[in-house]
């Protein structure tokens, strides 16, 4: 049994590294594949499969900052890291930028451990109250995000078009609907832009971990803001890491332009906390807010307290393993990135995303991918914040709560 657990953990970390490095390949895809082919894994205990999913998800949230920072190819969780990451890439500091996200990921461990009992004790009661006002809460959050924009009209257009597209996507017979929607909105659009801009990548500096540090004041402020915002965004439908990051930067007054290092550190904390607490949320209120939590809950049917303890242990081990793996992979990427033709690399990534969508989604999915890419392009070119595209998940959730 112990050998199986260790093996599941190791394979999970390996798969998470692969999905993290490959832009456009989301963990949800692997989780969906695993669930659809459960028959082949009938001899493996379900808890081992759940461990595999948890280890893969945690490793993925650590490693997927590499394509986001080095290639400008993010997914729905870390799209906010593009701007600060790209800025530091141009200065030859991509490794440093990535290490800040890794530091954030490690800092998330105590936050997760503190909020787990809080979620178990208070979330059921709190959620019962929130549930009745859920659509209005989501409307309030959406309005807040739109109204804080400089160009409100563009934000409204992006939010509603994304919402409309999201609603259509979830209501059409599309295989893996999230894949074309999110890789179009956040992935392909940014790749098209970087293809047009043809950035020249400077030689990247690899500095030791001792030299990569945040001032104490920034460290405390960023940690506290992320600790407040990420648990809040871990149990609401359609609200995730991006919203937590906006909220955290409002609290700490540190945005991606003012202080990119603190911002990246904050993003690292938020992504890990949101992913990890989604498993705790699945245990506490039986609601799943990430594809990985859906997979774990489907596998285990009912997550027991013992299961939760195992999941927490896996999260901690995966965080530590992903930290060291991340450093190694980032150093490797830093060494080779300026030797690679960025235009060719971008074209290869675009081709991979298109191919994956053709293989794992279907014809309707491909149409959604193209439309979502155009909306993503419009969002970037009209200087609207990409967070408004999360309307693609929030609006269908509002519609669901209002209509049911």
């Amino acid at each position: 049994m112990i050998l199986e657990i260790i093996l599941a953990l190791a394979i999970g970390i390996a798969c998470g590294t692969f999905t993290g490095l490959m832009p456009g390949i989301h963990i949800n895809l692997i989780a969906a594949f695993l669930l659809s082919s459960l028959g082949y894994f009938s001899s493996i205990p379900l808890i081992s499969l759940a461990i595999f999913i948890v280890a893969m998800s945690i490793t993925h949230v650590f490693i997927d900052f590499i394509p986001s920072i080095y290639l400008g190819a993010p997914d729905d969780e870390n799209f906010l890291s593009i701007l600060p990451g790209h800025k530091m890439l141009k200065q030859g500091k991509a490794h440093e930028a990535f290490v800040f996200t890794l530091y954030g990921g490690l800092t998330a461990i105590p936050i997760i451990l503190i909020f787990t009992p809080v979620f178990i004790w208070f979330l059921p009661g709190l959620f019962a109250i929130i549930k009745s006002i859920m659509p209005f809460l989501l409307i309030f959050i959406s309005l807040y995000l739109i109204l804080r924009e400089e160009n409100t009209l563009n934000a409204v257009i992006v939010f509603f078009l994304a919402g409309f597209l999201g609603y259509l996507t979830f209501n059409l017979p599309i295989k893996q609907p999230l894949m074309p929607l999110l890789s179009g909105l956040f992935g392909l659009s940014s790749l098209f832009i970087s293809l047009k801009q043809k950035p020249k990548i400077n030689k990247q500096k690899i500095i030791s971990l001792k030299e990569i540090k945040l001032p104490k004041k920034d460290l405390i402020k960023s940690t506290l803001s992320a600790a407040i915002s990420s648990p809040l965004c871990s149990f609401l439908p359609g609200i995730g890491s991006g919203h937590a990051a906006v909220l955290a930067s409002e609290i700490s007054n540190k945005n991606e332009n003012k202080n990119p290092k603190s911002f990246l550190f904050m993003l690292g904390i938020i992504n890990t906390v949101v992913m990890s607490l989604s498993f705790v949320t699945a245990y506490a209120i039986q609601k799943t807010r990430t594809g990985s939590a859906v997979a774990v809950r489907t596998l285990l049917k009912q997550i027991s307290f013992n299961n939760l303890l195992i999941i927490l242990a896996v999260i901690i081990v995966a965080c530590i393993a992903a930290f060291f793996l991340g450093i190694y992979l980032s150093k490797l990427t830093s060494r080779f990135i300026n030797k690679i033709n960025y235009t060719y690399l971008t074209i290869i990534i675009i081709t991979i995303i298109l191919m994956f969508n053709m293989v794992f989604s279907n014809f309707f999915g491909f149409i959604v991918l193209l439309i979502a890419s155009c909306l993503g392009l419009f969002t970037i070119l009209s200087n609207s914040r990409r967070i408004n595209m999360m309307g693609s998940l929030i609006l269908p959730s509002i519609a669901y709560y209002l209509l049911n």
């Binding site: 257009i157 078009l161 059409l172 419009f378 070119l381």
Partner: protein, 111 residues
């Protein structure tokens, strides 16, 4: 850049309208798995079906639903077609016909 942004917006608008038409067109196919099974259907049962489902609105009064190669003719008034949670719900079967194949159903709720 301004022109490209407008072009992208235009494609998004036209594409979304296209998808809307696809949504309201009568044929939709959903692929989902099945867990359990029953052999008959009764009136006034709300049935949430998971399987390879093909739904076709044949006229203003009837629909044909094909689930795992199993065909049913159902009055539209009895069908709630919710793709939001990937289910077809049928409130009982009137004038329904089906072949000998077993229909796989995951959840039955009395209306």
């Amino acid at each position: 850049m301004q022109k490209i942004a407008l072009l992208a917006l235009l494609i998004t608008l036209l594409g979304s309208i296209d998808l809307l038409f696809l949504l309201i067109l009568p044929i939709n196919i959903i692929k989902i798995t099945a867990n359990s099974q029953i052999n008959s259907l009764e009136i006034n049962q709300k049935i949430m079906i998971e399987g390879k489902v093909s739904y076709q609105k044949t006229s203003s009064s009837t629909s044909i639903i094909i689930i795992n190669n199993f065909t049913m003719k159902v009055p539209n008034s009895l069908v709630t077609y919710s793709l939001m949670d990937r289910t077809v719900q049928i409130y009982g079967i009137v004038n329904g016909y089906y072949n000998n194949k077993t229909i796989k159903i995951t959840k039955i709720e009395t209306k």
